[in-house]
């Protein structure tokens, strides 16, 4: 496939890996922010091919994983109502709430439907005027424009039986929170290429300035990842801290202006709880007042009192902050598997724990063998 196979080329990747090996002289902890990148790294086995000095830690960039328990429970409450059609991206259905997941709601007779785009949800609303269609609006800046577009179209077309349960999060405040935390010691960041495609990377300039950490915008294929890593390692070895773009075929400094405009028209910044991490100031979007009538939490005030506590055994919060690796959790692969996930990082195919479980188990068991020998 064009623009894909070239970036999965084994020889090219190996060449860059050799460069990294030549460049690196001491240990560096580097965080890839996006869950899609974590997945690519583990799926291609790239992590096994890196020199031992490089410690990749997995960031909080899985929108499914960081959606707070409270919103999952609210989603479940809404989806259980007989006059609601609840629509969602597929991987949200498996995320456990306090007691059950959306699959269970479906099994109990709830009308839960997977859609590929929020505009499909809007279509369902038009086709089912006697029901209210709620779309689970989750994701980073990547999905925000499409979700904003759905709300805007609902308003423009006067589709009143549509509402959105909004749980949008944004990347830069999360990176700031990580940099501010005394426990997190990350030397460099690999920024999420798709988020930057929408938002550009100008926002990172001040972060780099203030915290003196390199940020390299990274794509999603092995060659992209290896190149971004090389650029990051070079900066670290040379004592530089800059914003660099290793995904120029998709990302420009200012991002996609029309997409940003529509986000700003429909959403405003709000404080947002991240599952396993806590509330990060100004790290989420909520609907602007002009679109408040489409806010599911306002339309169904009965769900506002739902406020569950997260269970304690799961360390997904620490995993999302890069403080622990998935296999350092006592529950990993034992009580916690993709079929019985304790935390959201095990649920989404973008979650770090799921990526470790699916693709990395063999490598981990080999490593453990080496240690015990």
């Amino acid at each position: 496939m064009k623009y894909l196979d070239e970036y999965r080329d084994g020889e090219l990747t190996k060449k860059v890996l050799v460069e990294i090996e030549k460049t690196v002289t001491r240990p560096w902890k580097i965080m890839e922010v996006c869950g899609g990148q974590t997945h690519s790294i583990i799926k291609s086995g790239l992590d096994q091919l890196l020199p031992p000095e490089i410690d990749l830690v997995h960031g909080p960039g899985c929108p499914v994983c960081v959606t707070p328990l409270e919103l999952i429970d609210k989603a479940i409450a809404l989806a259980s109502q007989p006059d609601i059609i609840f629509t969602s991206y597929g991987d949200m259905l498996r995320v456990p709430g306090s007691e059950r997941d959306l699959f269970s709601v479906k099994a109990a007779g709830g009308d839960v439907r997977i859609v590929y785009s929020p505009l499909d949800a809007l279509k369902i609303a038009q086709d089912n005027p006697e029901k209210t269609v709620v779309f689970f609006g989750i994701g980073f800046e990547t999905t925000a424009p499409a979700n904003a577009m759905a709300v805007m179209q609902a308003k423009n077309q006067g589709i009143e039986n549509f509402a959105m349960l909004v749980s949008h999060v944004t990347v830069p405040p999360a990176i700031t929170a990580l940099l501010e935390s005394p426990d997190v010691q990350v030397n460099g960041f690999l920024a999420a290429g798709h988020v930057c495609t929408v938002m550009g990377y100008w926002e990172y300039e001040q972060l780099v300035e203030k915290y003196k950490v390199p940020v390299v915008v990274m794509g999603f294929e092995p060659v992209d990842i290896a190149r971004a890593l090389l650029m990051c390692v070079k900066q670290l070895e040379e004592g530089r801290a800059e914003v660099e773009n290793a995904y120029a075929r998709s990302v420009n400094p200012d991002g996609n202006q029309p997409a940003q405009d529509i986000i700003n028209q429909v959403f405003k910044h709000t404080d947002r709880a991240w599952r396993g991490i806590g509330v990060i100031p100004k790290s989420g979007y909520q609907l602007q007042d002009a679109y408040a009538q489409y806010d599911a939490e306002l339309r169904f005030p009965e769900i506002q009192t739902i406020a569950p506590q997260e269970p304690s055994v799961c360390i997904s919060g620490l995993v999302l902050q890069g403080l622990k690796k998935p296999n350092e959790c006592t529950a990993f692969g034992v009580q916690c598997t993709p079929e019985n996930p304790l935390g959201a990082t095990m649920v989404s195919s973008e979650g770090a724990c799921a990526a470790y479980y699916q693709y990395g188990r063999y490598a981990i068991s080999l490593e453990e063998d080496k240690i015990t020998r």
């Binding site: 091919l49 991987d91 692969g333 490598a363």
Partner: protein
């Protein structure tokens, strides 16, 4: 690690640990379904013929006569899809299950569960297709059943077929027969059926239409067996894709399997669709593809024979059976890394971004 779950010591069919009710994932051909079978059904029904959990049971009658016996239910929606329909699928699905023992399929039953309101014309079209598929596969439909359910209690039409086939002597194909050193063969491009269904069901349109690979595999198997008797395992790579098929064989034979990603035949359109939806083609269903494990010495001969058959033209040796990592399937990635290709957990879910 999955096997060290506490549930391994269970002997009575307690409800599964997660869900107090059946969810769609229990029918996905993955780990949830495998657990359901292992912990709910098997303890109550265990016997020698059932134990190997092959695509079909092998039953030994008098004088060394062996028959293959299998059943399958078809609930595909939509009833018509690019490259096939539920009628022919219901024939070929059971024919293929029988063929995976090396059997010559002979007889089929037909159970039709019809939903009130199903147009007679649709039923006629599907039945015609069912009958001509049976004729094409040289199987006779010798018994049947018809039920009608209330409107809203079925997707128009469900079909169950049960089949009987005769296994020629000197053939010993079973899920537990793989040996370290054996070659792993896949009979053609993977994921075609699953992505064809998904593209119509979800209204996705691609430049090239993806067509289901629905086809009867018994003649291909016959061709393979004519080339060599040393075919150790055959598996119909339906739900759960080649990932599930290879995992089941690795577990039954207590061996490891390693395959090269670059060697697995994959159509560009299927690859593109999988990329778009964030799905792994190894997990996507096929309806006319098998995986075979053969003695390494005869693998090339078997492959040449497969290439001579229309349904095996794209067949490829994709990997080998190892004594390492028993019960586990690994793939070597394009950049020289490796990863575990586990059983899928539950339903395949499209990714958010």
């Amino acid at each position: 690690m999955t096997d060290s779950l506490n549930i391994t010591s269970w002997t009575c069919p307690l409800p599964l640990q997660n869900y107090p009710t059946i969810v769609m994932g229990h029918g996905s051909g993955g780990k949830m379904m495998s657990d359901l079978i292992r912990y709910m059904f098997l303890p109550l029904m265990e016997n020698e013929a059932l134990a190997p959990l092959g695509d079909a049971a092998v039953l030994e009658l008098d004088k060394g006569t062996r028959i293959a016996f299998s059943t399958d239910s078809f609930v595909v929606n939509p009833l018509f899809f690019p490259g096939g329909n539920i009628g022919e699928l219901a024939v070929y699905g059971t024919v293929n299950d029988l063929a995976m023992t090396g059997a010559q399929p002979l007889f089929l039953s037909a159970g039709f569960i019809l939903e009130e309101g199903l147009p007679m014309e649709t039923l006629g079209e599907l039945t015609t297709s069912f009958a001509s598929a049976a004729e094409k596969a040289h199987v006779q439909v010798v018994t049947g059943d018809t039920k009608v359910v209330n409107k809203g209690h079925g997707d128009g039409l469900y079909i169950n077929t049960t089949g009987i086939g005769l296994i020629p002597p000197e053939i010993a194909i079973a899920p537990g027969n793989a040996q370290p050193g054996d070659a792993v063969i896949v009979s053609g491009t993977i994921g075609d059926h699953g992505m064809a269904i998904m593209s119509v069901r979800e209204g996705l349109e691609f430049e090239t239409q993806i067509v289901s690979d629905t086809a009867p595999l018994h003649e291909l198997v016959e061709t393979m067996l004519a080339a060599s008797n040393e075919i150790h395992c055959l598996r119909d790579a339906t739900r759960g894709g080649i990932a599930a098929a290879l995992n089941e064989l690795a577990k039954s034979s207590r061996v490891g399997i390693t395959f090269e990603e670059g060697l697995v035949p994959l159509r560009p359109a299927v690859k593109a669709a999988c990329e778009m939806l964030g799905m792994d083609p190894y997990y996507v269903a096929n309806e006319g593809k098998l995986v075979a494990i053969t003695n390494r010495e005869v693998a090339e001969e078997v492959l040449v024979a497969m290439h001579s058959h229309p349904l095996g033209q794209d067949a490829a040796i994709i990997g080998e059976v190892t004594a390492d990592h028993p019960g586990m399937v690994l793939s070597k990635t394009g950049i020289g890394g490796s990863r575990v290709v586990d059983l899928p957990a539950g339903e395949l879910l499209p990714r958010i971004c």
